[in-house]
């Protein structure tokens, strides 16, 4: 390999991504070429400076997994075949049929009144539907309030805890999230222990409270 060809490889020798045979050729050449040795020093210095420059660029608090996941959930719910997409499609068909039928032959005033009522109805249905689905990922099920075979615990997770850490912390006590997050970022979890077995519940609370990196607060729901 010629000097110029080896010189071209130096940036990738510096970042250690050359194939083994190329790396050996470059190393052999460096032992005898002062120019390439000096260039490698310069490239290493540049590399360090570029790493420092990039590391100084910090993403804002907006770059979170939760945001990325929101986009995924939004995409998933809009996909054809999902509940929400089916509702949208049915609504679209219904509106289409509605307009192509008797609507066009109805006088203006009744039409306006019906349109306003329909909009209000759609808005209400939408808000109920959205309210039920938006926390989908965190709400796995809901227990009836009179359930005496389970105990509910209110938990607050550390802001830096990942979803995986949250799941692990809850599964460590065989719990599942049944509600949350609330406006105060509190979650309600349910553990399969009847409320009267207080010693076991205290043990569960202790386990959760000891996981301070993930859980900031855990108390039995009154």
């Amino acid at each position: 390999m010629k000097h110029s060809e080896i010189n071209e490889l130096l940036p990738w020798y510096a970042n250690a991504t050359l194939r083994e045979e190329e790396r050996q050729i470059v190393e052999g050449h460096l032992a005898n070429c002062r120019e390439c040795t000096r260039e490698l020093e310069t490239l290493s210095m540049m590399q360090q400076a570029i790493v420092d420059i990039n590391n100084a660029v910090k993403p804002s608090a907006r770059l979170t997994f939760e945001r990325a996941l929101d986009k995924v959930e939004e995409y998933e719910t809009a996909k054809p075949g999902t509940d929400r997409a089916n509702v949208r499609a049915s609504l679209r068909d219904w509106i289409g049929n509605f307009f192509s039928g008797w609507w066009t032959s109805t006088p203006l005033l009744p039409r306006a009144i019906i349109a306003v009522q329909a909009l209000l109805l759609i808005g209400l249905a939408g808000s109920i539907f959205y309210g039920q689905h938006k926390e989908k990922i965190y709400t796995t099920s809901s227990a009836s309030s009179g359930d005496r075979s389970n105990t509910r615990i209110v938990v607050s997770f550390d802001a830096n805890a990942s979803e995986q850490q949250m799941r692990q912390a809850i599964s460590a006590v065989h719990g599942k999230i049944i509600n949350g997050p609330s406006a105060l970022d509190l979650y309600t979890i349910q553990v399969p222990i009847p409320p009267e077995r207080s010693a076991e519940i205290q043990q569960v609370l202790k386990t959760l409270q000891q996981n301070g990196r993930v859980i900031r607060f855990a108390e039995q729901q009154p």
Binding site: P11, T17, R38, A49, S60
Partner: protein, 189 residues
């Protein structure tokens, strides 16, 4: 990235294709900041880079089923990121200077007595990088910050390995000249 790391990441992508959110989180934790910095180096705006990072990861979610493992997951993700960044740049008037033009831009002179500090080197280099044309800067960033091989860079940039090497040749020459003009790296070859 070791080959076992690559295999693990390929497995995450398979799991993502089946709708596994935990695998998606793993991929996110490993790549979000790397992708953000790469995108920032291209678009030069934090908000845009953040938005694009999420777009890239969503595209990975959507396209996971089509990932055949012919390239490394990192190459695949940076390829998507590049595509997103270029689409975004097409929508705005990006201010990049051609490498020939850039070489004529003179930096203000500073006294030779000034010490060459690491901070000053970074400052000069940052300014020089910004004056490189997009493809030249990309090759530099992908090599020195993202630690990719020239073959991977060629795949991401959809060009030949010779083009990558040529771009690097001119970019490093420009960066070296720029630093020398500023009195940094007088001993450089």
């Amino acid at each position: 990235m070791t080959s076992s790391g690559t295999e693990e990441e390929s497995l995450w992508i398979e799991q993502i294709a089946r709708g596994d959110r935990e695998a998606f989180e793993k991929l996110y934790r490993v790549y979000s900041v790397r992708l953000f910095r790469y995108l920032f180096s291209m678009v030069q705006e934090k908000n845009v880079a953040e938005e694009l990072t999420n777009d890239v990861l969503l595209a990975a979610w959507k396209g996971a089923a089509e990932f055949r493992g012919q390239s490394k997951p990192s190459t695949w993700l940076f390829g998507i990121a590049r595509h997103k960044a270029l689409s975004s740049l097409r929508q705005v008037n990006s201010h990049t200077v051609d490498i020939k033009e850039a070489s004529e831009i003179m930096e203000p002179r500073e006294g030779p007595e000034e010490l060459v500090t690491r901070e000053r080197l970074q400052q000069r280099l940052r300014s020089a990088l910004q004056q490189l044309s997009q493809p030249h800067r990309e090759v530099v960033e992908l090599t020195f910050y993202q630690g990719l091989s020239y073959q991977e860079i060629a795949e991401i940039m959809q060009c030949s390995v010779n083009t990558v090497k040529t771009r690097m040749f001119y970019a490093k020459k420009y960066l070296r000249d720029h630093l020398e003009k500023a009195g940094i790296g007088g001993e450089m070859p």
